[in-house]
């Protein structure tokens, strides 16, 4: 199955390279948000603000932009397009594991995530941020962000397989808003209103943001990194299992 995943992953990456018009907007949005947010509130939260640990507000916002860059419906949309044009049937009728179709997509999501996260991190550094955990921390930051992208891709893939509808798959980005905005994305938990704090503490994605942010602002905070990785792995495991079940049962239930 590894060979099949590698072949299908390469094909999905080739798709990304040949359709830059699908990738550029995905990268434009996080960079735009980063620039606008910093421009609007950097004077409200100067580097003397306690939770910034001496850095500019860009350091606090950077993890959110990283997640913006990697959380896309690209794989779901590619899959539903394949279902519509008939290529998906061609894959199903080949003697391959159906799971390799999903894993091939996720491999490409990881590679895209690494590229997107690296670009956004470089932009953040250009805006004045630095990674307190050093170069190794920056690498871990990029890998964790890319893994979050892989986990998040499960939403789009699942909707694509269940609905077989481009419009429905496209609306999977709506999941993004509660997941990424009911979090301590602008200020820490303690500064949120009580209701928002409760919602943010319930939302597991908050701990991904906090974990990524800890590498930038605080250095190596192992408990926060463990929570971040735990959430990413749990979310990835659940969504991937549901996607694998959906492809296994495709036209069979």
């Amino acid at each position: 199955m590894v060979g099949q995943i590698s072949l299908l992953g390469k094909r999905a990456l080739r798709e990304t390279i040949r359709y830059p018009e699908a990738t550029i907007p995905v990268l434009f949005i996080p960079l735009f948000f980063l620039a606008v947010n910093i421009g609007q509130v950097s004077e409200t939260f100067p580097s003397s603000t306690p939770f910034l640990n001496g850095q500019g507000y860009v350091a606090f916002q950077l993890p959110v932009s990283l997640m913006f860059a990697v959380a896309t419906a690209t794989s779901g949309l590619a899959l539903v397009t394949e279902i519509e044009n008939g290529y998906f049937d061609k894959l199903l009728v080949a003697p391959i594991h159906r799971a390799s179709i999903i894993y091939g997509r996720l491999v490409a999501d990881f590679a895209r995530g690494v590229g997107g996260a690296a670009l956004v991190l470089l932009a953040g550094i250009a805006f004045g941020a630095h990674v307190e955990a050093g170069i190794l921390g920056a690498i871990v930051l990029i890998v964790l962000a890319a893994l979050f992208g892989v986990a998040y891709a499960g939403f789009g893939i699942l909707i694509a397989l269940r609905t077989r509808n481009v419009q429905a798959t496209n609306t999977s980005f709506l999941i993004f808003f509660p997941l990424l905005f009911l979090t301590p994305n602008f200020v820490p938990f303690e500064l949120l209103t009580p209701l928002m704090e409760t919602l943010a503490r319930i939302n597991p994605v908050s701990y991904v943001i906090v974990g990524l942010r800890s590498l930038i602002i605080d250095g190596w905070e192992w408990d926060q990194l463990a929570a971040c990785l735990g959430v990413i792995l749990a979310m990835g495991a659940v969504l991937t299992l549901l996607s694998l079940r959906a492809i296994r049962d495709y036209d069979r239930d």
């Binding site: 094909r11 080739r14 798709e15 044009n85 061609k90």
Partner: protein
């Protein structure tokens, strides 16, 4: 599908005919393991299509009605990927892709993305993709629908070539000429039910008569029918859409008498033609309806698109 029982001998080109919506594609999707049979069984080379799907998939090649090509890849990349998915090494895949591109006459277009291919080129590439592993059994679901006559003939040549190398071909079509031209045996299906099966020549011979087709073009069918009842050698008259089909022993010899009778009854019809029975007449006899569809092409036949 209702109670269809079919057996296709090795090495034949088997035609599965029927109008749109008759159940042809559903049958093919079941046999290719894409759909589980809701009842009954399908065996490919002795393997159950439902329980031994993975083994079945190794033995079959499939070109479905909806052309399954990835528009982002070039023809060569698509075939090389397909070879890899069937377990070939990259070197073998490159060699096999080259052979197949040559066979379907797409070597010149091999390094262009498939989204720029014409309909005929896409069909041929899809056919090549179904052949990467040299399958023992090839399923072709309406392989020429929408193609112009010259592209259709190219596909026919390739199907004959593939069959000549020993592959069994299961072909669905709504074109009777295609079935007549290519198939060793045909099964005709209508509304999920098998209505006739046999070699095209046998099926046509079973009719045993010539067919005189009368295009009514507004003439009264009942009056026309009444005028022609009792014609010498007439076996039966079957109503069509604004037409009548007379199954008579000697078509050419009956024309004078048919014209005389219509003239006497003061009935003016549009056309009268005599033919040997066709598969369409076999379908007409079995179902009371014509099967032949218009030769529409959806602008897919040319060699290239923008």
């Amino acid at each position: 599908m209702r109670g269809i029982d079919l057996s296709v001998p090795r090495g034949q080109i088997f035609g599965f005919l029927g109008p749109n919506g008759a159940g042809k594609t559903t049958t093919v999707r079941m046999l290719c393991t894409l759909l589980p049979p809701s009842a009954g069984t399908g065996l490919i080379d002795g393997l159950d299509v439902d329980r031994e799907g993975h083994e079945v998939r190794k033995r079959i090649g499939v070109a479905l009605q909806e052309i399954g090509l990835d528009p982002v890849q070039t023809g060569r990349e698509l075939l090389e990927l397909q070879c890899g998915l069937y377990g070939m090494s990259p070197e073998d895949g490159r060699r096999r892709a080259g052979e197949l591109l040559e066979m379907v006459e797409l070597s010149d277009a091999a390094d262009r993305r498939t989204k720029g291919y014409s309909g005929g080129m896409k069909r041929r590439l899809d056919l090549a993709a179904a052949l990467v592993h040299d399958p023992q059994i090839l399923f072709l679901d309406e392989p020429t629908t929408g193609l112009d006559p010259s592209s259709r003939k190219k596909i026919w040549e390739e199907v004959r070539l593939i069959n000549g190398r020993g592959a069994t071909v299961f072909l669905t079509t709504q074109y009777l000429e295609e079935a007549d031209e290519l198939c060793d045996r045909v099964a005709i299906i209508d509304d999920g039910v098998l209505v006739a099966e046999g070699a095209p020549a046998e099926l046509k011979a079973q009719i045993g008569t010539d067919v005189v087709a009368i295009g009514l073009e507004g003439a009264d069918p009942a009056g026309t029918r009444a005028a022609l009842e009792g014609l010498a050698g007439l076996e039966r008259i079957v109503d069509g859409e604004d037409s009548l089909a007379l199954f008579v022993a000697n078509g050419a010899g009956s024309i004078v008498e048919i014209v005389r009778r219509l003239d006497q009854a003061q009935i003016s019809v549009g056309t009268i033609s005599v033919s040997r029975p066709s598969l369409d007449d076999v379908f007409l006899e079995a179902t009371g309806r014509r099967l032949e569809v218009g030769e529409t092409t959806d602008d897919e036949g040319g060699e290239e698109e923008g």
